[in-house]
Amino acid sequence: MTEREREPEQELAGRLEGLWAVETSPDEVSGARSAALAAFGAVRRRRRRRWALAAVSAAAVSLGAVSAAAAQDAMPGDATYGLKLGMERVEIGLARGDEAEAEAWLDIAETRIEEVERAGAEERFSLLPEILDGYSDAVAALRPRVDAVEATQPDAEVLARSARELRIHDGVLSALLEVVPPQARPGLERARDATRGPRGDVGVPPHVRLPEVPPDTGPPPTVPAPEGEGAPGRPPAPAPSRETAPPGPPEERPYP
């Protein structure tokens, strides 16, 4: 392409750069930073608490901290997976009240999703049925507790966290549907349905009525889509391998 032919493109590129050279207001940036750091701190506290519970559980069955740490990364079929599930039962047993129980079941659902992501990334699809059953059970236990909290504490943090996490889980399960063998699809679809709940969607206020809409709807089609490479209007599917790695020693260490 000649320099002359490039001029219109370079002109457009320059105009786009100028158009988008917008700074956020300092107050907005500060607020966003605070919210992100608050979420980071909350996650760190939750994981410390879970690790502490794991250590207590491991001590109760005369196992050491190393075994507890190994169990936290266990997958179905691993020798310590039963211990991992046992520690989760201890966590549920120690939770008091709907809010604490909802947090605990949400933690367990999160753990099952981590296992799903790992099984998908490692193409260990035979593990999915057991993991997805555990996920569906966790979400089934979570929902009535979230409903109970919503009825009495509509501003409780666990409600926002639950809506946010379930939406993320929906995305993870939907993405995996595109890569798993056909025999694994029904289990994934059931788990995704569990994520979406009786309203058929994730994180939508109860007063909003929802029509039947295909799950992969992109932006409202106000203009016809052009032809070209890829599918216009749809974001690329996530790459599970970017978020998980082949198994290795646990990277997280107990916090002091």
Partner: protein, 185 residues
Amino acid sequence: MDDVDALVARARRGDGVAFGALFDRLHPAVFRYLLARLGDRHVAEDMAAEVFVEVAERLHRFRGDGTGFRSWVFTIARHDLADRWRAAARRTVEPVSEVPEVPEDAAEPVEESVARNLDMATVAVGLERITAAQREVIVLRFASGLSLQETASVLGKPLTAVKSLQHRGLAALRRILEGEGVNWP
């Protein structure tokens, strides 16, 4: 990106200072990415904040280095956009168009002007009419300010493919904007 590698490793171990530094490093690029896609500054600010809350909540599950981390953050932003549009398409309370419209206080209403200036809302609509791959390159390059190599790393594509997508994307976008009556000097 060695320092980002170190920041990611520290943040995954629970270092809040490192996470704050990652936020400072990436928030402007993510905000401008969302701004380009949404055409609305305030919505883009809100969504950028949500993206980083999600990054904070999922960081413990991230496996990768600094380059992979940036790609992962933009993937979260793209997914959040898709979720937003899906949710808007499903609502029946009020038909909500998430595709930005030309603001009421635009310099000149389209019907009163033969040609108009480039504005964010018009560009956002135009971007939705090119392919997803072209759109990602254009937005990452000219909104988020990534270099060609950085864009290739974020998208996981060869450099030559990114150059080609940029060229074709700009050409297609320009044709679309000309069709919308955008003024070219």
